[in-house]
Amino acid sequence: MTQNIHFDPVRLPPEAQVLRGEVRAFLAEEIAAGSFNPECETDNDGFDRAFSQRVGAKGWIGLTWPKKYGGHERSFLERYVVTEEFRVANAPTRGHFVADRQSGPMLMKYANKDICMDVLPRICRGECCFCIGMSEPGSGSDLFAAKTKAEKSAGGWRVNGTKVWTSSAHHADYMIGLFRTSPPTEENRRHGLTQFLVDMTLPGITVNPVHQMNGSHDFNEVVFDDVIIPGTHVLGDVDMAWQQATSELAYERSGPERFLETFYILVGLVRLLGANPDLRGAEGIGRLVAQVHTLRRMSVSVNGMLQGGKEPVLEGSIVKDLGTLWEQALPAKARDLAAFSDPEAANRISFEEQLEYATMIAPKLTIQGGTTEVLRGIIARGLGLR
């Protein structure tokens, strides 16, 4: 049997490249005004609500969404360009990126009309930050082991339990939370989980910081103590979360943010080694550029195929597997290649700072949004091995 791993050689349409020019001009103005540091996201934790609102005012959040929800009904390839330009510039997009990428589309599919009309336009204006409540103490990659309980009660559902590793929970207005509403069945251990829209201002929710090893604060622990969530905030069918939200996964796995998170290291390396690198430096840069070009062409292709109505599920998972490994390995490779560069070089200090930062965030890159091990299992399933 042939596996038919296929990539259409998708090119970005002219309107996407026009949009790129507008995004770059906006980012250049922001950088000039000092709103963020393009060298790497060291200054803040990537969250800046005022910045998100300015992005929203430009119309670049919910770009692909229906106009009735405040969206702009533009293509996924245009959204692709916005995402990659913001990522490469290290712009602080945490205030809106998760909502734009996955929470908004999730609501459109599973939330009732009133919620959509209320929340989606606010996301588009950059006023609404989302977090994802999936992992728990003792249940990370093994999502279906989640224990945080939602029980039917007066006024809706009563939630008790703890989520952890929840990025941006301390900024978030809403969480998409995965809670246990029934025990798993004999035949299907994935049964019994339900997704909810959680207003983070509800009484009984406590957000505790979990500081990272580099000192920054992104993760949180979110404790639910008799939190009452209205019944209207159930997303999709009760107990059936495992059947939902698979179609968005290909977008989520294959985007440019899956291989560009440490791209500034490659730029910094090229700057450090200068216009005439030695043979070793030139070869090292050449290989890294070839690798990232390949990843980007794969990623653009998957997004173009999705836009065209195809379902490149296996290809999307492969982009994340290869992409996250590449962005993770990049700091170490750059460190090797920079080893004999001029210690007095003008760019040395900033490169070393970038390298230190990237080295410390690198371990998370193959964990967040699905570990390498889980992805490889998904790819193996796609190959018909399980």
């Binding site: 090119r11 050449g286 794969m298």
Partner: protein
Amino acid sequence: MAGEGELGSIVVDTATRIFRDLCDPQTINNAAEESWKQPLWRTLEDSGLTLCWVPEDKGGAGVRIADGFDILQVAGRFAAPLPLAETMLAGWLLAQTDLPVPAGAMTLAPGDDQNEILLDAGGKITGNARKVPFASEVSHLAIVAKRNGDNVIALIDSSDCDISSGTNIAGDAQNDIVFNNVSPVGVSDMPTGLGPEEVMMMGAAVRSRQMAGALAAILDLSVEYSKERVAFERQIAKFQAVQHNLARLAGEVAAAEAVSGSAADAIDRAARFDDAVFLETASAKIRVGEAAGEGAAIAHQVFGAIGFTAEHILHRLTRRLWAWRDDFGGESHWAVKLGARVAMHGADDLWPALASR
């Protein structure tokens, strides 16, 4: 455009059918002599595939550049041990000149810094070319030579040259050639926008596409075998370690397919071999070459000792992957060139260059 697409897929289907019928790797692997070769080559020629990049008014089939690359991907899947790619390349080059495009098998020597081939005032060719694929099995060579420092293209009858015996790591003919006052069949000025480096780029893109095909084939073989083979009372496909290896192989196959397909598309669309085509083709040869090494290693690991035997077909594919990654510049060759060019343009131009593709 729909019509062209359909025509393209018809040509690719034809190639697939021919290779399936006449180039089955197991049949070839079992063959004691080379009686399979003639019918296969004749069929490829009769169906117009060998000169598919030559326009119809010059005796070729005139298929699109992109479709020709897809034919080569199929040829790679079958590890075709014939100078199809080389004849296509030579035809592509000759068709851009006013030289005749001869029938029969051809190969080409792009000429490089180490091996200059000179055309003297008397019209004779002198010099040498190293490791030319299939030179001993073809009737004509298309070469890039220097005349007063300018590049020209010469068409040469291979029987006029001194051709060494020799094979590459796959066992396919690969020969050093000495040109000792050879009178060419014809000489043409270099077509505008082409030079040795551009011919190398085209060759690199061709080999990348062939390797992508061979990688796809070893993934298919490996997945199939892992589901047949039982060890420790289970299909080895059920072992997580094996699954992860196969997932990695799928990743290498995917990277090779995507970047080589992108390079082929870039050449198909481009008016000339500019910086963008350079980025695409150099990247393809580098990344597919890396995938060839990684992929072959994983496939052999999956097959264990069986895949190491002469009678198993795996080596038909893996040995060609190892051979093809060296042709028209290996990974290091192109990486140095690409890295030097990126460095020359500077750090601030890197992202715009990538994003323009």
